[in-house]
Amino acid sequence: MPKIEVKQQAFFHQANMKPTLGELADLLPVLKSEVDGSEGEGAATLLKLEFNDTNRPDLWSTAGAARGLRVYYQGWDPQYPFFSSVGKKQADGGRKVVVEAGLKNIRPYCSAFAVAGKVTDEVLVDLIQTQEKLCHNFGRKRRTFAMGVFRSPMVKFPVHYRAADPDTTKFVPLGMTESLSLREICKKHPKGLEYGYIAEAHPKFPLQQSDDGRILSFPPVINSADLGSVEVGDTELFIEITGTDLPAVTLAASIVACDLADLGFEILPVTVEYPYDTPFGREVTFPYQFQVPVDVELEYVNRLLGVNLIGDQAQKALKKAGVFSRYENGVLTVFPPPYRNDFLHPVDVIEDVMIGHGMENFEPETPSDATVGRLSAEELFGRQVRDLMIGMGFQEMIYNYLGSKKDFIDKMNISGHDVLQILNPMTENYEFVRNSVAPNLLETEAASAHAVYPHHLFEVGKIVRLDPTDNQGSVTRNSLGWLSAGADEGFNQANARVASLFYYLGVSRSDTPGESPKGVAGVRDYSVKESSDPRFIPGRAADLFVGGHKCGVFGEVNPQVLENWNIGVPATLGEVDLDSLLVK
């Protein structure tokens, strides 16, 4: 979630209010925002604001957040007359960007505009922050779009947006003193190392060039040191945005233009000429309002909100949320402001009505539909198993499911062929999903030598086993695992516990050895067979079978496994697949 820093003084000035921090906390929820902290005192106070709505990048600046508050609480109705739209072109004063055909499959879109006004330190800091937040959070780390700000008087129009040769094109990038080729910038400049890969995916790299040949920038990587170093005191700026998604590229320009307009800058439109078709045509003058009105039936709004607003009320609510609308014949027609593009579905209007109407005006109602509550069959069965284990003196455990190769495979003396591995683990400590409860139990035992013996532990939890026959290649199973450790622990005790557990679960012991006990219809039997599971002592472990299928194993833990875990007492382990015992 985006977080920004705003100077409290400037923020309150632009919002035309002077709340205390406590009051501000109560005002911000209408922007889905909250104060995340503050630094400094008095005029120097810096506020940290957090925004929850990743679809509202217009709020991620001092001007944007201030506008949201001023519109909601003071009925402000800001006007942005500089927008062009379908059939309405603002004068561009000859400012043009010409796009080369070669960009169509590289980074096809560009938006641009210029501003005139006084660039103060505050404006500059906020503009840089806006650029970063927009390009990082909304522009997907500059992949969808990236933005550059230049000293407009030095730019000779038309600006050329080109697909340039990465090796023969050279310039001095911002922050450096030597001239580098575009490819060298990707290898040497810090921004090149971070964003160069976006350009390097194509044989030619994007380039913004002034008509006199001077280079503005190598988007989305870096501006030139020449035209790209904006300073306090500049009076005219040229702003361009390049990217792969025209609505996003356009919206970003609109957001920055509205912010600067709020700060008193004059917005000077720029026309971009494409040699290929775009969703908005071959010639687009920016800032450009592309959003289309959204119709929503008032009845739908009322039904989803559980209220009975009339058209006027809904319109007033929308106005507080900064949205102009018309109401006619039961239909609200909503005109999204130029800096917003989050109305995907009529339902998106409803939230703005809700916020504008005020949360406090919705009275909670208890849902009246009668439904039958019910635990899952697996949960109920798991509870029976837990009760039996506890009755046998076992302490219930609950474990994390991720672990290391060392713990889940190496120490267990197993091949690990059916243990699920994570492709992108954060650390090797959490690289595998457990295929058995046993390693967790042994880990506890290894850490509990000081606890009074004997130890009896168990967990009913989930395990995952690779299974090529499954659509997803693995299956999640509910599993019971248990461990007993103490000087007197051995196979016979484990055997007795299995018999007791199964008896009370309604599965009796078959005298027939092997895998397929003959069961009487309706009566379930289990049988045992000597196990070759490498985790146990040969000859002292048994595989468990129910209905001819292996459903578990138990026995004396192999001393090699105990040594691997640095456990100094004998232990028995058992594990049963509960899903195969559950009668649905």
């Binding site: 509202r56 506890i390 693995s474």
Partner: protein, 513 residues
Amino acid sequence: MDWDNLVKSLHPLEVKILLNFGPETALTATVLAQKLDFKVGQSNQSFSWLVGKELALESGRTSTTVYEITDLGRVHLAQGTPEENLLKALEKGPIPMAEAAGLLGLEQKDMGSAYGQLAKEGLLGLDETKRIVGKTHQPSLRMQTLRALLVRAAEAELDEGGLSPEEVIVLAGAAKKRGAATSAFKTSDRETVVYKLTAAAQEVSEVLKAKGVTGEEVNALTPALLASGAWKGRTFRAYNVQSPPSRLIIGRRNPYQEFILGVKDKLVSLGFEEFDGPLVETEFWNGDALFMPQFHAARDIHDVYYLKNPTHAKKIDEPWLSQVAAAHTDGGNTGSRGWQYNFDHDFTRRLVLRSQGTVLSAKQLTKAKVPGKYFGIVRCFRYDQVDATHGADFHQTEGIVLGKDVNLKTLLGLLKMFAMEVAGATEVKYVPGYFPFTEPSIEVHIKHPVLGWFELGGSGIFRPEVTQSLGIEVPVLAWGLGIDRMALMQLGLNDLRELFTNNLDSLRQRKRS
């Protein structure tokens, strides 16, 4: 002073000592053996107990001589002493002196001393032909005494203090200090501790008498006593009911698991049916079905765990795949304009570890009843550094409510119910929130009596792109609760990792939440 508990803690052996001796008597094991018939072990144990209770003191040490039977003495005990054997042999008639040693299997010097001793006592003599002649078959008093001493010494060493002067004289002739291999007894000096009862013992003795405690009380009620009825008319030794108990290790539920069970039961009581699902999911269910665009920041490789092998599911079930893909591309027939991008059919099959519980809410839509309420407390995995507030995997509590007439106000009512019933909140506050799959979205903040204000959960009404793509035409309330914070509070912990603790000792001691 209140002697009651002290009196109850007295063993019958202690009681007998306290009742039978005054503070002036010097008490030793020997004395107790003589007067109370205590065995040495019983005496030593009693002294130790009494000293521990400050009812007896060590008043000094005395040195006494003790006699132990030797191996030779045991031979004499079993096969007779040379004197006894000689006397017995003479019953059959005189034996020539020269043949006697050989006949009796004795060395000449032993034969000589046996003969000399018996001759001195007038039990035998020598005739003219140098044959030994018995004068009587009756052993002398000394011999009888010696045999009795051998019998006693074989059971326990003999303390000089417990012997008669006659016995001491007899032993003097049969014992040696060192080199005792040739003697029946070995003698040594032993230091004996002497105890005296304290003044307090005197008082306790009075209390015992007043209470009628004799030391003859029944110690344990046995089946034999019950069968015979011999318990009747007898009293039982009273216990000190205030004595500290020992600690039992019992089988118990895990406190965190118990907390989760409690929340599940509560949700069931509110009419919710439980759902569950596999830990491995596809990108389709983990994100696409929730209308999160495939380019969404939360779907980065740095936010979700991918699987190494296999990396993709074989297929995604229809019609869900087509409908969801259409919703993403251009809204399909959900009334949305969609995200306007090319839905990636390869990416959607990619396997991940479930990163949000809402996945199961979405899956439930494909099989849900209307009206219906469903919930799950399920394990999720997120790409996070493990620390006090982030686990390698964690629980999410999620659910949905389907109904023709559910709306924002019923959503708020539902949240209020959770706040009061599940979290025990005293106040509830609702603020607009944001989730990619709900519109409108609401966060619920509660005031908890202990924790103060905090965010209990997120919720909203599922977007039509989510519900209609999965075959549901009615509104669906979706909610998620953060219960781990309450779990930590209830269990008195402050680190999420402790919920999954490996520390058996601390788990055994953790109290019920």
